[in-house]
């Protein structure tokens, strides 16, 4: 166990070096520098003075020199001096850190304190109104952008009702309530859902039935037996969400003017203070990794099996034999997968962890196929074909059994079996899931809106009108008009393009790079796997929102760059997912067979292994669509998204928040659309996961 902790901490060192290199390089590449920021307010300044300023900040030296100076100081434990304030970054960081930690802790208390009891209650009262309410609350909670809900709560509870202060830090515990609730939202929704899901599984267990049969009170059954076995995914959800809160609380801190490290980093990025930005991101990364480590240690206390695996951590492993069938519903790591890899960390602020579906059976195991039999005057025939597998895996045999039933005899069982393809099977299961169907309907509406948007001219979306300025909703302007007199309805509809494009574009980028790298890492293993995994860890460790801000700052504000910024953050998710699946499949016999045939490893990896492991990737893709949309809208809200006047929903909200009182429609409609779109993708993702999970398939 100690060895495990020691090795994990050791890995921090290369992580820090890589993080510093990435962030420093990106910040240096961004247009403008600290001197450029200073010059905005300068007056009669000469060229010589500008040159002197640049010399003072080492801007007359090459970037590699500045990075060398930075690393030299870093090795001495010196994070440098802020270019703007000229005060030590460490001092400022330490001053702000407690504020962020307090906020994170309060968010955790609120989130866990609400989520776990809710999840337990929902599981115990499954399929009742209570359960449905919790489910819906969780889904909606995961679908709402934090900045939107934050401003909403502020307007209601601080401004209108005056029950609570509007943030800041000078009103004691009351100041913590609103930002704490907002910060806990995603954690609360995710943990409630996770608790409910795991408790449902556990409540069906035989050992609980035995305990009840023995007369153990229900409270003890739940608390002592059920909950203990449901902890691991809950801890994962909590830990991931908490590290996201710590690492990326930019949005909450900006909305509530919370003097934390998230704001510190955002302001440093905006003013091109490379030293401060790099220092804060490094420190935040360290905290992020340490929280993940604590989560993994908690696993060991909860599950002795995992503790046993930690003992072998870092030792040379034997080459894995034929992979065992994945047996655990929980995301407990198998021997070949490290605990922290069981559920990839998400370096994105708001969204929930995409559920890691357990690896399904290789696709070679096709489901039973049944053929419909034509009925007619002749006796009904029921025939079915089965494919069976022996230990070689690939062999299949068709065995048809036909039964002739006489028409006179009542057919005891007369069913018409339709032959379904794999996609048909998936859709069949999804069609039984009303949540997934609701998601599909909403998605369908979004597609229709997208098509409608193709007929909306750009001019009608951007043309301004002083006469219509801040007009309230009417027949002519269903969603009202914004500050420039632009038709909000048309802008929201037109913005569907951006939203869908950003979501699809971002996950495409993430999937292409993540799946490719993950497949290579999982298939080849060894040093290549280690290198790829470490790079992935580094990217995943950088707070998602901050990484997105830096990328947009470097590349410039544009629609395409926003897609890149959002997509890059999600690469580690796909990488880990694909790697885990590939590692499971690579030792299958069909791989050996392909090798024997003479196919190259690359071809085997991408044409044989990968197609058999697509199911979890597809689920992740669907789930992360919603995450990408929220991240993109959050970046737009912070001013790092699509430039005005392009009608991206987050940008419309950002532009309209100044008029939240007089023209609330500017925030309401785009916010609702974001929520519904993300909800649709979350519902679809859940439905897809259930449809692809063999354990949940029922006939």
């Amino acid at each position: 166990m100690l060895r495990y902790i020691f090795i994990r901490i050791l890995w921090l060192i290369p992580t820090i070096i890589l993080v510093s290199l990435i962030v420093f390089s990106l910040m240096e590449l961004a247009p403008g520098d600290a001197v450029a920021g200073i010059l905005m307010y300068a007056e009669d300044i000469s060229d010589e003075e500008i040159a002197e300023l640049r010399r003072m900040h080492n801007l007359d030296r090459p970037m590699i020199y500045r990075y060398g100076v930075y690393m030299r100081n870093l090795l001495r434990g010196d994070l440098g001096v802020g270019a703007v304030t000229r005060t030590p970054v460490w001092d400022e960081f330490i001053r702000r850190l407690p504020n962020t930690l307090i906020l994170s802790f309060v968010s955790l208390i609120i989130g866990v304190g609400v989520a776990i009891p809710l999840g337990i209650i929902a599981a115990r009262r499954a399929t009742t109104l209570v359960d449905n309410s919790v489910t819906v609350f969780s889904m909606i909670g995961m679908s709402m952008p934090l900045f939107w809900i934050g401003i909403l709560l502020m307007l209601i509870f601080a401004q209108r009702l005056q029950w609570l202060p509007a943030g800041n830090f000078d009103d004691g515990w009351r100041s913590l309530v609103l930002p704490g609730i907002v910060g806990s939202f995603t954690l609360m929704a995710n943990a409630a859902r996770q608790t409910r899901s795991n408790m449902l599984e556990v409540l069906k267990s035989d050992y609980l039935r035995t305990a009840r049969a023995k007369g153990v009170p229900e409270e003890i059954v739940i608390r002592k037996h059920a909950l203990n076995n449901a902890w691991i995914p809950i801890i994962t959800a909590i830990g991931t969400s908490l590290s996201n809160v710590i690492a990326g609380a930019v949005v909450v801190e900006m909305v509530f003017t919370w003097p934390g490290i998230g704001r510190m980093a955002a302001e440093a990025v905006g003013s091109r203070d490379v030293t401060t930005a790099t220092g804060v991101i490094i420190m935040t990364t360290i905290m992020y990794v340490l929280v993940q480590l604590i989560v993994d240690i908690l696993y060991a206390f909860v599950d002795p099996r995992i503790k046993a695996q930690y003992k072998n951590y870092g030792r040379r492993r034997k080459k894995a034999a034929v992979p065992k069938k994945p047996e655990a519903v929980l995301a407990a790591p198998t021997e070949s997968i490290k605990p922290e890899e069981a559920l990839p960390p998400v370096s994105i602020e708001t969204p929930p962890e995409p559920q890691t579906p357990e690896p399904v059976m290789p696709a070679a195991a096709k489901p039973e196929r049944n053929r419909a039999v034509a009925t007619g005057s002749k006796a009904a025939r029921v025939s079915f074909a089965t494919r069976t597998f022996d230990k070689d895996g690939l062999k299949s045999s068709d065995a048809e059994d036909e039964k002739d039933l006489s028409a006179d005899d009542s057919i005891l069982v007369s069913k018409k079996y339709k032959k379904r393809s794999q996609m048909g099977e998936i859709f069949h299961h999804m069609s039984k899931n009303k949540g997934a169907m609701a998601g599909l309907i909403i998605f369908g509406i979004m597609i229709i809106l997208f098509i409608v948007s193709l007929f909306i001219s750009w001019d009608s979306v951007v043309s301004i009108s002083a006469q219509n300025r801040l007009a309230s909703p009417s027949l002519a302007l269903p969603f009202g008009a914004d500050n420039m007199g632009r038709n909000v309805f048309l802008r929201v509809i037109y913005g569907t393009r951006y939203t869908l494009a950003i979501g699809l574009g971002a996950v495409t980028i993430a999937a292409i790079f993540g799946v490719t790298a993950g497949c290579i890492a999982g298939f080849y293993g060894g040093k290549l796997d280690n290198i790829i995994l470490r790079i992935s860890d580094v990217v995943a460790s950088i707070p998602g929102m901050l990484l997105g801000m830096v990328i947009v700052t470097v590349l410039g504000q544009s629609f395409q760059n926003l897609i890149i910024a959002v997509g890059v953050q999600a690469v580690p998710i796909y990488l880990r997912m694909t790697r885990a699946t590939t590692m499971t499949l690579r030792n299958n016999e069909f791989v050996e067979a392909a090798q024997a045939v003479g196919l190259s490893n690359v071809r085997i990896a991408f044409s044989q292994v990968l197609p058999n492991g697509l199911a979890p990737i597809i689920v992740t893709l669907t789930a992360s669509l919603g995450i990408s949309i929220i991240v993109a809208s959050s970046l737009s809200f912070l001013g790092f998204g699509v430039p005005i006047p392009q009608p991206e929903w987050g940008a419309i909200i950002a532009d309209g928040r100044e008029f939240a009182t007089r023209a609330p429609w500017l925030m309401t409609f785009p916010g609702v659309f974001i929520m519904l779109t993300v909800l649709a993708f979350n519902l679809l993702g859940d439905g897809l996961r259930d449809a692809l999970d063999p354990k949940l398939k029922k006939r």
């Binding site: 450029a36 920021g37 905005m40 000469s46 509530f256 003017t257 300025r469 100044e658 939240a660 609330p664």
Partner: protein
Amino acid sequence: MKKNKIIALIIALVMVMALVAACGPAADDGDRPATGQDTQDTPPAAAPGEGGGMELDAPVEGAALAEHIDVIIDNNPIAVVNPFNPASNPTSTSWVFVMVHDRLIERDHSTGEFVPSLAHNWRTEDYQTFVFYLRDDVYFHNGQQFTADDVIFTVEYGRETGVGSLGFARWSAVDTMTAIDPFTLEIVLNNVNVDFYHDIAHPPASILSRTALEADSATGHHIGTGPYVIRELIPGDFVTMDMNENFWNERFDPQTQTVTLRFIPEPAARTTRLWTGDTHISFSTSADDIYRFQALPNEFNVIGHTFNTMQGFSMNLADPVLQCWHLRMAIMHATNRSDVALFAANEWAVNVLETDRGGGTIWGHSMDFRNNDIPGVDFNLEMAAYHLAQSDYNGEEIEIAAAIITNVRAAQAMQEQLRVAGITARVIEFDSPGLNAHMADNPTQIVWLALNNTLAAGSIRTFFHSESAMNRMRMNFNNPAVDEMLDRAATTLDINERRAIYMEVQELLAADPAFCIVFWRINGVVAHAGIGGVVLPADNVSVDLREIFFVTD
């Protein structure tokens, strides 16, 4: 699962209703108007050229005063309180200088005259050599007595550490300084400079303590001689100051024990704090919300503070397309300044052409020697078409660059107006450092920005003298006649002669426009009734909160 859908719809409906309810009238609003009803479309603007103040200059005898006042500053966070750190350049930091530090002299904004401060008297014959007679009863917050040596140290410290700062710029004309005795100081400038008094009266020209800075280089610049002492500074968030019980200046009578200046980025949060009384006065209330406060005149005072900053767009004369005078005239005629001001500043702006102060000059409304007789280029599409026809314009797309939301909106509005006039434009949005870098590397054709001037006419050098880096980054205005006149004006002692020079400079600048002032921004200052003692000069940098008070009963 049908229940789920129903529940989801209900929850969504409740949330929407809650949002609408939040924005509707509160239960106890009484006279407060319902949402969306504007009680006043136009702000109570102070006339351009004038500053303003709260209704109360001093509290009534015996009135109960608040011990602590919370102030929301404008949209420039206070990162550091050091006149020689460029991070202190934003205007709001100067408000802290005024409260914590003192200068050798000050400017009385009601009369425009220079009045004694740390120096009780001064003289000069040639505006190159000055002698200041210093007070001998002034002490810094650390108890050390103020002497001439502190002034010398301040200037030397600024030269070593303050490149790029406003403090550095204020003292840049100084050649040598000599302490004739501890309370007599001789300053010799590099050249004759008739604006030297303006420079040293400006808040960034605050005097620092040698002993404090030598003892603590990190925070020694917080030590001043002013009526307030910095207790706590959280960069980017707030600064809290306590009254200096040993304040020396009989001209001022501080009333409040503790004052906090606070930066809040979120508009809703600012309004909320003001509404609930957590904040007593706000200099950056959302224009959208000001009407709510206007509707309650018994509870809130709303003042429109028009300051000297010129908001408009520069045209790069080095660009081959914009070198064409007719095209520039076409652009100016095609710009509807009222609409641009409306979109950019949400009604809180003054179209320069709608004042009686002549809209044609590129001069701040309160700057010395302003030429009010130059007619402005009015919004006239026929004239725009005429000039466009005379120009070399071939339909090229013109770039308009902007940073910060106000300028970006103005740029968008202008883009649309130019399109109507037949000129194609594209708006490029940057953040502030990005815009500066863009201008330095590849000067953009048109840039939307704000020109911040002091009230001294000579400050126009920053933007129009060919040797100025700021000019080259924005306008590339290069007129040797203007350069010569600006150099001459700075050394001309005769006021009438100086006036004539500046008048002619303004005519030359208007004849070959490189900058078009579109509006003056009005800052909506909202304060709880009972707030007084606030001076709002036309020079926004010198907002004076030294005597701020809040009558609680």
